[in-house]
């Protein structure tokens, strides 16, 4: 990975709000950023360990609900005459708790689901997301059901000279999402370029061979699931405290599909893939909004996706890499060979 490019890109994103302080643009990029963080987390499972989790929105939703519930506090009867009461916690504590809770759910689903692979794994993860949606719809004491949870407190931050500030402005939210996104990206980048990450990739490439050199399958799959779920939970927490209203729709299948599209179109198993895919598919609906009718928007969305998968089946980022290599290759042809080829061409 080219760290110089990474630095320039992050700096560019960092100063963007000064260059173009339009709240609408910033909020659009901010929401796309939250989806990109979710896509980064999915990429760890789908791209690096090769497990297709079609219930990833569940982790996103659990993170959102856990963070919202912790920050608002709750008082719920869990049966046997026991009530579970939690007082409102500071938002950052709630956010951290949400990440841990989602990580735990990742471990749980990993433990249950990795006993099976392929289609069975996919079905289990879909079912998990559905069950979570049902719980959020029906456990009204805890989640307010279809009414959703409202007036979720925003993040706040102590800034020198200004005191404690609520992060409610579009620019503040933008920077917050950017910061969490950079952390998530670095976490995955460090992980996949380490011994642990190599073990995960080995499981994707050839599980039998991987175990033969001493790589414990269940440990690394569970580890990937925990980290992936925790990052998705962080994205969910960000969503809850920035949008400040959540309802059971956060568990909808379409959100998982969006994440999968971002990862696959951008290039699964590459660090930049979810970012590139997320920017394209996260921003496209907004960019097209003023230009074409909503129906046409979705047609363009679909066609773009089909074209990418048809012509660049491995995704955009690998295609860009291939292109760069292709531009650089002609130098590699030995001089004598190319002269002979030219001579042969001249004769014919």
């Amino acid at each position: 990975m080219n760290w110089t490019f990474f630095g320039i890109f992050v700096t560019f994103l960092g100063i963007f709000p000064f260059v173009w302080p339009d709240p609408y643009i910033l909020s659009v990029i901010g929401s796309a950023g939250i989806m990109i963080i979710a896509a980064i987390s999915l990429n760890l499972l789908l791209g690096y360990t090769g497990q297709l989790s079609l219930g990833h929105a569940a982790f996103f939703g659990i993170g959102a609900y856990a963070s919202a519930l912790m920050s608002l506090g709750f008082d719920v009867d869990i049966g046997f005459g026991i009530t579970w009461q939690v007082d409102p916690k500071p938002v950052w504590v709630a956010f951290a708790t949400a990440i841990v809770v989602t990580g735990f759910f990742g471990w749980l689903v990993g433990k249950l689901a990795f006993k099976v692979r392929g289609a069975y794994f996919v079905v289990i993860t879909i079912s998990f997301a559905q069950v979570m949606r049902m719980i959020s719809l029906n456990w009204t004491d805890l989640t307010e059901g279809p009414m959703g949870m409202i007036s979720i407190p925003p993040f706040s931050l102590w800034i020198p000279g200004e005191g404690v500030v609520d992060l409610t402005s579009k620019a503040a939210i933008y920077w917050l999402v950017l910061a969490v996104g950079v952390l998530a990206y670095l976490l995955v980048a460090m992980l996949v370029n380490s011994r642990q990450g190599r073990a995960m990739i080995a499981l994707r490439e050839n599980e039998t061979l991987a175990t033969s050199v001493g790589i414990p399958v269940t440990y690394y799959l569970a580890l990937a699931a925990v980290i992936s779920a925790a990052i998705a939970g962080a994205a969910g927490g960000l969503y809850a405290h920035t949008v400040r209203i959540i309802d059971p729709d956060v568990f909808l299948f379409i959100y998982t599909v969006t994440m999968v599209i971002m990862v696959v179109a951008g290039g699964k198993g590459t660090l930049g893939g979810p970012v590139v895919g997320g920017l394209i598919f996260g921003l496209m609906p907004e960019l097209l909004r003023g230009v074409v009718q909503p129906e046409v928007q979705w047609v363009i969305y679909g066609i773009t996706m089909i074209l990418i998968l048809l012509f660049l089946p491995r995704g955009l980022v690998p295609a860009i890499y291939d292109f760069i290599t292709w531009i650089r290759t002609p130098i590699a042809i030995p001089v004598r060979e190319s002269r002979r080829a030219l001579a042969a061409e001249a004769k014919s």
Binding site: L187, M190, R198, L209, S212, P216, L223
Partner: protein, 267 residues
């Protein structure tokens, strides 16, 4: 680590099977198989197709638990252990097919295979602490050494899938060696190799044997088997029918019958 390398330990038994029986859906693939492999030798397991050689490998390396019987590695009962824990104890196998990580470079193939040598914890890896950096450097040095041993140095950056078939087999053995085995199980390593590749391969197996690693080999190429084995074990229909030095095996009537059928006298 050094057990197998000391000459005084040559009498030590590395691996032994005691009455191993394996039934697969009513078929008796292995029937009361008992044999033992002394340290530092190159031992071949041969037999006609369907004799149970690959099943024996799967049972030894933990991919299939046996119906009954015991597998011992250095006096430790490893029956029913998982493949990765058996690999961690020093028994590593190579595969007939799919012996490399196709989509990764040759270098990364070996770096991945050095998994067991790594000690850096998750936190150390994620934060890039000094221990992680030092360990990465050491592992990379080891990979270059292994590439030299395999004579694949100039292929380091190529995708494993783009190597020639012979080179892929050699890389497959390298991956197994990277797990620092005390005993190495090779499953038909020379299948599909041309004569010159087979010769290179034979030389490599000798180098492995000379470095003190015990080798168990399943192979159909009889020239190779007879020329490099210290000892041969013959399986037929799930039973051990003969055991001994290559010369004795060549003249053993039971073996000749198994391969050529009865009624044919020794030519």
């Amino acid at each position: 680590m050094t057990l197998a390398k000391q000459p005084s330990e040559t009498e030590q038994v590395v691996l032994s099977l005691e009455g191993v029986t394996m039934k697969i859906a009513g078929l008796v693939a292995l029937d009361d198989v008992t044999f033992s492999i002394p340290a530092g030798q190159i031992v071949s397991l041969i037999g006609p197709n369907g004799a149970g050689k690959t099943t024996a490998y799967n049972v030894i390396s933990g991919y299939m638990p046996p119906t009954s019987g015991k597998v011992r590695l250095f006096d430790e009962d490893i029956t029913g252990h998982t493949p990765h824990s058996i690999a961690a104890r020093g028994l590593v196998r190579s595969f007939q097919r799919a012996s490399v990580f196709d989509d990764q470079s040759v270098f990364d193939n070996l770096l991945t295979a050095y998994h067991l040598q790594g000690r850096a914890s998750l936190i150390q890896s994620l934060l890039r602490l000094p221990k992680f950096r030092r360990e990465e450097e050491q592992l990379k040095t080891k990979v270059w050494e292994m590439l030299d041993f395999l004579e694949l140095r100039r292929r380091a950056d190529e995708r494993a899938a783009s190597l020639s078939y012979g080179e892929q087999r050699i890389l497959g053995v390298g991956i197994a060696l990277a797990a620092s085995p005390k005993i190495l199980l090779l499953d038909e390593p020379a299948a599909g190799l041309n004569p010159s590749e087979t010769d290179e391969f034979k030389a490599m197996i000798r180098r492995i044997g000379n470095s003190g690693i015990t080798v168990l080999l399943v192979e159909h190429d009889m020239h190779m088997v007879m020329s490099i084995s210290d000892q041969i074990i013959v399986l037929n229909q799930g039973r051990v029918i003969a055991e001994g030095a290559p010369k004795d095996i060549q003249n053993n009537p039971a073996v000749i019958e198994a391969y050529l059928g009865s009624g044919v006298k020794r030519a």
